[in-house]
């Protein structure tokens, strides 16, 4: 995927979000009698606004990676603390969709990563997860094969087979179906691969039916 394609795809998605926001607001303002604002629609607004914000951060990051050859600013983070914050940030959206959002990690687990970059990736994954899960969403941290593994998994239908295939091809597909999800993959893969330690490099992997039975996205950081 080239930066220009990413850009077009992101703009497309953000335009959709904005369209939704504008329409909902129009509905509100068109009917002066509707003083009691519908909570459900407000939550929808909030979600679209968050989505927009995540995309803008993503876009900015991609721009920087492309143009300024940024190197990640690796620091040591307590994984539990980090995941707790992410869950709190997304709690309101999850409650509105009646999704049980949780995190789990050994409180003593420390990881080495660029906090800003990984936060962006996980926020996107949680946003997507909230769309596709049926009732639960879990973000977890653990140590496997010498890597820090951050997982976002749900109890939904799981990833379609063609997406599981895409990862084998290294996110190079330019299929038009499910474009946005591929974009998320591209971004996550790019950020993961920017993390290196000695001769090892970060990567992502997709699978179905981990502990919750649905889709499971794993971020492997050396």
């Amino acid at each position: 995927m080239k930066f220009a394609d990413v850009l077009a795809s992101l703009i497309h998605d953000m335009k959709n979000s904005l369209g939704l926001v504008i329409n909902t607001l129009e509905e509100f303002t068109a009917d002066p009698e509707d003083a009691r604002l519908d909570r459900k629609r407000i939550v929808a607004l909030q979600q679209e606004a968050k989505r927009l914000n995540n995309h803008l951060i993503e876009l900015l990051t991609l721009y920087k990676i492309e143009n300024e050859r940024i190197s990640p600013h690796i620091e040591e983070w307590n994984v539990g603390d980090f995941l707790e914050e992410l869950v709190i940030e997304n709690r309101a959206s999850a409650e509105a969709k009646k999704v049980q959002l949780e995190y789990s990690s050994d409180p003593e687990l420390y990881g080495y990563f660029d906090e800003g970059l990984i936060r962006g990736v996980i926020n996107n994954l949680l946003g997507n997860g909230l769309r596709y899960t049926s009732s639960r969403l879990l973000v977890s941290g653990g140590q496997e094969k010498g890597f820090l593994v951050l997982r976002v998994e749900d109890d939904g239908e799981g990833f379609p087979t063609e997406m599981l295939d895409v990862q084998a091809g290294g996110c190079q597909s330019d299929e038009t179906t499910g474009e946005h999800t591929h974009l998320g993959l591209y971004f996550a893969g790019l950020v993961a691969s920017m993390h290196r330690n000695k001769d090892r490099q970060g990567h992502i992997s997709l699978s179905n039916g981990h502990t919750l039975g649905g889709g499971c996205f794993s971020l492997w950081l050396p």
């Binding site: 914000n53 951060i57 900015l60 990051t61 920087k64 300024e68 050859r69 940024i70 190197s71 600013h73 690796i74 620091e75 040591e76 307590n78 539990g80 603390d81 707790e84 914050e85 709190i88 940030e89 709690r91 309101a92 789990s104 990690s105 050994d106 409180p107 003593e108 420390y110 080495y112 660029d114 800003g116 970059l117 936060r119 962006g120 977890s140 653990g142 330690n197 000695k198």
Partner: protein
Amino acid sequence: MKKRPPVNFRTSDLEKKSFLIIDDFGDMRGMIKGMLQGIGVTRLDVAANGKDAVGAMEAKRYDFILCDYNLGPGKNGQQVLEEARYRNLIGLGSVFIMITAENTLDMVMGAVEYEPDSYLTKPFTKDLLRVRLNKMVEKKNNLQDVERAVDRKDFEVALVLLDKKIAGKPRNLRELIKLKAELCFRAGDYQQAATILEGIIAEREMSWALLGLGKVHCAREDYEKARALFEKLLLQNERFTSAYDWLARTLQMLDRYEDAQEVLEKAVTLSPNAILRQQALGLLAIKNQDEETASKALAKAVKLGRHSVYKHPSVNASLAKIRVRMGAGREGMKILKNMLSEFPDSKEASLYAAMAECVIHSDAGDKDAAEASLQRSAELHEQIGLDAGPEAALEMVRVCDKLGDSDKAKNLLHTVVINNHSDDRLLRDVGKLMIELGLHSDPESYIEGIHKEVVNINNQGVELAKSGRLKQALDHFEEAAQGMPANKVVNLNAARVLIMNMKENGVGRGQLGRVKQYLERVRKLDDEDPGLRRVHAMYRQLSLQS
């Protein structure tokens, strides 16, 4: 996998704390205020710009400062942080949280001296703010005793406290080890700092550990090793700007001034708003006789200085001289005029202005005006005395030499060298200046000669004290301290022998006062001098006993 129970702090933990919100947008201030009140915070002030924020911090100690990075015209968030920490408006126990609009990478990397305790990226929710604040309280509470000791510059005690915590293998063990390495470095225990940092690097080449180890090599004057480390660090992460600063410093110690300039120029393109870096580049470019670069960097430094605690009249004066030399005479004089209104009532600024005027008049062939400026410079320099620092003295040397008074120039140089015989960096500059002005055929052996002289004086005194002739040792060092009032080693030795004498022959009020005086002199020169802390501990012990 274990799940950690949520951190539930008593609300009173935050309720008791005082907060300052700094943001130029009223809506944003209102929103953060609302969030904090929702969390239970009651003691809360707001400021709309950097100036008001500093005013608020001058009037009151805050536990938490939430500051937006962008504050419109005037100081930015980083400059507010610098001023607050530099002037001790907030203690180490206070929490400074920088609020930023987006990915903060560039700003984190651009900072030279101070980093905030935490960053918050907009937009954030009340829940996130609460969790973050509680974590910071927990962290600060945990380190309160250590930070109090660090505030007093009592690193030995801080390290003992820290070791006790480390022995308990707490959750934040690695954070504590990082702090320990830093404190060992500041305490002058380079061996231990190196051991800790090397251990970390063997596991993972963390940027901060590589930088820290490089600084240790620098402190041990192992410049080649330091250079290799800084270069390696930059190869891994070319945007790690503080590594450029240290690499440039190291290259200068290796006499590679032009390479050093190149390094700083690169850092300045990456992060142009660090005032200390622009100052360093400007001064280096002057040494390299690159007027174009010097002028650009100094102009930027002066501009950044308007809102910074790091502004210094010597920078403005250097810019004025350069501009005049480049043919912009009127602009140069205007810079000097502006400088005097920027540093009102500052004798130091008047001194630098007079010295610069002297050079400018002299270059213009106006001998009378130059003589008058020299007269004024000399008077001011005399009045300010030692507080003017060796840099001002070296500038005086230049001025005196220019007006043909090479005897005065040589006298001044001698004073600088005897008072700073252990400062390699400064002595290098002295040597360079002597060559430039042709003041001595062999500056190196001249400086070496004086260095040996001072070392001998110290050794003689120490020998006298060791052999029990305390009275003679005392006279010896007090006389030496009179002749070299800004020499750290001599002043510390004078204080040390006074203390030994009082231990032997009883404490006298007058002698205690003199010890305090000597220590005060050293503190003014370098308040983190390891020797100062040792002698100060002896002094404290003695005054407690009496």
